[in-house]
Symmetry: C2
Subunit: 216 residues, 2 copies
């Protein structure tokens, strides 16, 4: 099985990368610069790929910022603090982000004659992000089988798992979480206060583990 992973450099997709390798798959990684404040996640993704000997491409989509600007992740809007499930976190939605990224990954997979595209979406995302829900992933899988002569499978094994479950799996796989980035803020070190940081810290806590990152 040959797989393109959409790798954000965060905890979920990095764990998925380790899982794909453990499953014996041939993997290439694809990341996107879409003008996100937390662009440091891309350097973390690169470090992980270098460590694992995985080919990594970073595609510059920062010119899309002018089209899909209504998000706290890509504009002057403040990144909200507090727990993930809160209404305020909706400001962190980037219009159609996952469909855009998945479409490009599917194109690369077709071009390379690869079999699947792997996405690290998980159950904790569902409340806030329509493009992380099971119905979206099902439709993405359907269209990925139809849009080209070669059908591409969408692989999202964390779809029904929590971030805590993912940390458990990743710890068993030996994931180096010091090379991941979850925070949505621009700062080099994670803030520990945004919804993304809150969810991450809870995921380690629930497993009686300590997050190796140093927080501001």
């Amino acid at each position: 099985m040959k797989t393109i992973i959409v790798l954000s450099g965060g905890l979920d997709s990095t764990t998925l990368l380790y899982k794909l390798i453990a499953e014996g798959k041939e993997v290439k990684a694809l990341s996107f610069n879409y003008g996100q404040k937390h662009v440091v996640e891309l350097w973390r993704a690169s470090e992980t790929c270098k460590k694992l000997g995985i080919e990594h491409k970073v595609i510059d989509l920062s010119n899309l910022k002018e089209l899909v600007s209504n998000s706290a992740l890509t504009s002057d809007m403040k990144v909200p603090e507090g727990h993930y499930a809160e209404e305020s976190m909706k400001s962190t939605v980037v219009p159609n982000r996952n469909m855009i990224m998945a479409s490009i990954a599917i194109g690369w997979a077709v071009n390379l004659d690869y079999d699947e595209v792997a996405l690290g979406v998980h159950a904790g995302d569902h409340a806030i992000y329509p493009d992380c829900r099971p119905i979206f992933i099902q439709m993405l899988n359907d269209i990925a089988h139809t849009a080209n002569f070669k059908p591409i499978e969408i692989y999202a094994p964390f779809l029904k798992l929590s971030k805590g479950d993912i940390v458990k799996i990743g710890t068993e796989l030996g994931v180096d979480y010091s090379l991941t980035r979850t925070c949505y803020q621009k700062s080099e070190e994670p803030c520990g206060k945004c919804g993304s940081c809150c969810e991450r810290l809870e995921a380690f806590e629930i497993n009686n583990l300590v997050d190796p990152l140093i927080y501001e």
Copy 2:
């Protein structure tokens, strides 16, 4: 109704733009430079938009060329000559092109709080391009209703029409076909020999019309 049109600068999408305006819609146009040889189509698209007073954005996706390179439209591969339905025309498929473009257009529509994305796909494309077939457009419409908080409609009114039918509609709408580009070759003037040119010339012939373009 507020609509984003994916405008290639070709005959089909240009006719669709005139049709949207005739239907009283508020329209913005979106074109893509994806490293196509026939980049001259983008200048034609701009000229049409300027003539009609329509806002037009051209997004540079030429860095995707390294991911989706296996096409005669974007590589050193020769653009095939002869009729469109022939097997050889498959070399002009660009991996996942329409899904990538539609995804970005949907993102822009969500961002602007627009209602629909219009595509100029037609029945003559179905044999060669999986991402122009009714089943693909249906799935695209489904996912466009699901991927974001705001559902976006996919509007493809030429889906079951031939290029001849489109020229008939366009002529009634007063489309200036001298500002369109259909040829897949790099040359400033259309070649008259590639599948795309053959289909266009037939479309005018069948309507007893003369294509206003000057061929090489």
